[in-house]
């Protein structure tokens, strides 16, 4: 156990250090990918272990892996790997276009590894304080990457990202302190009262008032990173202006990780208060995010910005699902987490190449992709169909469960969901259709796109729509029971 855990966390950390030291060489990208692959291997081993002998903890309980976070670990490691594979040719082209300096590449690679490390730390740590530290670190590692291009827009985006998330995360720290405060009275001072496992054991006796106030701070804090409306403002800017691989991992992974933290606290809070206080808040914010994001979509001109808003929408949907709770809804939420990060990162890969080919991120400048490059065109089309909840892709599976449960349990929410999903479908599909079909606007560019990641992701999403492997299913079920 300890070994895999060590490898899992050490590999990206070492990777960050190494890449920072070697600097921008020809093989830096390969090294980056290599470390990512190693990390994924470690994650796979860890997953195997957890499947074999259940929840595990290591380093006197500082680290803890149960069915809830292990699948996120696997997902994170996997998407990090594929993204590194994608970023190899992509960033090389960016470099050759002179949009990035050598120093920038060095920063990019090492920060990429560190970012992976922080996310894995958030997921695996059992210590809520460390969780906060790692979350803040995740912001710090990505903020420079968002500003990688040093353009006006990217600097502005990075600045907003930094300030908003920094402030938000500070609230989360206050919340954490309050939780510690509540725990300390039962478990006594010391590290023990910050360990989630211990808290979960005694969650019923935690002081309700404190926990409710604490959860408010935590919601505002981590919710900012999840991108819940009205705390979402940093998200579209950061996604649109950063390099595409970073947009992919931000919306594919970081949001999930932040939501994961929120869920951990939700479990504690609802345990402390008898009434579903946290669940109610999550439902409300989730629904608000879905509705507002859907209406943002139709006016977008920048393609990455549009898909950033769609990420907000989907995070809202997931949050709503967890807020509803119950075996089906939580199951659906977890499934949606998985398929959303896979699909959305795949879309960002395709979008990145499309933007590179046409030399612009503005959708009016991108036309007739299937003519220019059928693989990119169909990749984008299918990815969009998937993210819009078209079967047989996995997103549909989760949306199916969420909606059917919603109308049965929260009928009032059903019309809102119906309208929002309809509006977002109308907005996104019209724009993507115009980009994919029709007469092309750009000539073929020489370079070959790296589309293996795209179609790998889409294939997985397709699989999840038609057939969920039993162990994965058990795993979701256990996690869903954990969330309640």
């Amino acid at each position: 156990m300890a070994a895999e855990m060590l490898l899992l966390l050490a590999s990206p950390l070492a990777g960050g250090a190494v890449l920072a030291l070697v600097g921008q060489r020809g093989y830096a990208a390969e090294v980056n990918a290599g470390f990512a692959i190693v990390t994924f291997g470690a994650a796979a081993r860890l997953v195997a272990r957890v499947i074999a002998d259940g929840p595990l903890s290591a380093f006197e309980e500082q680290f803890f892996v149960d069915s809830l976070n292990v699948f996120l670990v696997a997902l994170t490691a996997f998407v990090a790997m594929t993204t590194s594979l994608f970023s190899r040719p992509y960033m090389r082209i960016e470099r050759s276009h002179g949009r990035v300096t050598d120093a920038g590449m060095r920063l990019y690679h090492s920060m990429y590894q560190l970012f992976t490390f922080t996310m894995l730390l958030v997921l695996t740590t059992n210590n809520l304080g460390v969780m906060w530290v790692a979350m803040e670190a995740a912001t710090l590692t990505t903020v420079l990457l968002v500003a990688l291009y040093r353009t006006h827009a990217s600097l502005e985006a990075a600045w907003k990202y930094f300030i908003l998330c920094g402030v938000g995360i500070a609230q989360a720290l206050f919340g954490t302190i309050l939780v510690y405060f509540a725990a300390e009275r039962i478990l006594g001072a010391g590290i023990g009262s910050l360990l989630w496992t211990h808290l979960a054991a005694v969650k019923a006796d935690l002081e309700p008032t404190v926990m409710s106030i604490a959860f408010v701070f935590l919601l505002v804090g981590y919710g900012t990173k999840v991108g819940l409306v009205p705390l979402h403002n940093w998200l579209p800017d950061a996604h649109a202006e950063g390099p595409t691989p970073i947009s992919a991992v931000l919306s594919g992974l970081l949001l999930n990780v932040a939501l994961y933290a929120l869920i951990r606290f939700k479990v504690l809070t609802d345990g402390a208060l008898e009434r579903p206080f946290a669940s109610g808040l999550l439902m409300g914010f989730g629904l608000l995010s879905v509705a507002v994001a859907a209406f943002f979509l139709s006016r977008q001109r920048d393609i990455k910005r549009m898909f950033a808003y769609s990420s907000i929408e989907h995070m809202g949907l997931i949050t709503f699902a967890f807020g509803m709770g119950g075996p089906v809804a939580s199951f659906a939420g977890l499934l949606h987490m998985t398929v959303h990060s896979l699909t959305k990162s795949a879309i960002f890969f395709a979008v990145g190449h499309a933007a590179q080919k046409n030399g612009t991120q503005l959708m009016d400048g991108i036309r007739g992709l299937v003519k220019v490059s059928p693989t990119i065109g169909w990749g984008l089309m299918l990815g969009t169909a998937a993210i819009l909840g078209m079967p047989p892709f996995g997103v549909f599976a989760s949306e199916f469960l969420i909606l059917t449960t919603a109308i049965a349990q929260q009928p009032w929410a059903a019309p809102i969901l119906l309208v929002s999903l309809g509006v977002s479908f109308a907005a996104i599909f019209s724009k993507v259709q115009a980009m994919v079909f029709g007469e092309p606007s750009a000539a073929r560019l020489p370079h070959r796109p790296a589309l293996v990641p795209v179609f790998t992701h889409l294939a997985l999403v397709l699989l999840l729509g038609l057939y969920i492997p039993p162990y994965l299913a058990d795993w979701y079920r256990l996690a869903a029971r954990l969330i309640g």
């Binding site: 803040e136 600097l155 600045w159 920094g166 302190i177 405060f181 009275r185 202006e241 943002f296």
Partner: protein, 220 residues
């Protein structure tokens, strides 16, 4: 003796902290803003040390030392260099005029105290009543960040919010476990370094560190 006067002293320091928060809220000049921030750090250090000596918890001394090092010496020094390099010593005009800001601040303080009151009753610590003040200073720094339009004051607000959090930790629960304290401190340090880098980049792009220039990205 100390056992008797200590808590009162802590409360006094807490009051000073709140006072400083208000002072920062009302302060127009960047330089004195930074000095106030340093003073806040100092008070925080004193409070932490005091609590440490009252409760005799070793790791609190560590965090006190950390505070002294980071908040009183390092960060103010960095900020001073920063504004010298960026030469932005001029006055900061606020988006909201000072008296209004003050009134809002007072409302915030009331809210914070109301929130903290029930919690403080539960607290087993000698310094229970200071939790409200900590929360208030956090909110006040937040307010300050909202009302300042220049980048540097926003940074200062951000850091002083961190101070408030530290104080909350110290006051409410005699400080977080050591590893967390260290982590937080590290984060704050890295954050302020990155902020510095940023300010320079922004400066060289926009020839100004006024965040009003950072309003291009929006929906039309």
């Amino acid at each position: 003796m100390l056992q008797h006067y200590g808590p009162q002293l802590v409360n006094l320091l807490a009051a000073v902290l709140l006072l400083l928060a208000f002072a920062m809220l009302s302060q127009r000049r960047i330089l004195s803003l930074i000095n106030l921030f340093a003073a806040q750090g100092l008070v925080l250090f004193l409070a932490t040390a005091l609590v440490a000596s009252i409760t005799g918890q070793p790791h609190l001394y560590w965090s006190a030392g950390l505070t002294l090092l980071l908040k009183v010496l390092l960060l103010p020094w960095i900020l001073h260099r920063l504004i010298r390099r960026l030469n932005v010593k001029w006055d900061v005009e606020t988006l909201l005029n000072i008296p209004t800001t003050m009134l809002v601040g007072i409302v915030l303080v009331i809210l914070a105290f109301n929130l903290a009151a029930p919690i403080s009753q539960l607290a087993g610590t000698v310094t229970r009543s200071t939790l409200g003040i900590a929360m208030a200073s956090v909110l006040l720094s937040f307010l300050m960040m909202i009302t300042r339009s220049k980048a540097v004051p926003q940074v200062v607000g951000f850091l002083s919010m961190e101070n408030g959090l530290f104080f909350a930790a110290t006051a409410a629960v005699y400080g977080m476990p050591m590893v967390v304290e260290l982590g937080v401190a590290l984060d704050v340090l890295v954050a302020s370094l990155i902020l510095g880098v940023f300010l320079f980049q922004i400066r060289e792009r926009f020839d100004s560190v006024d965040t009003r220039h950072l309003e291009k990205l929006k929906e039309h």
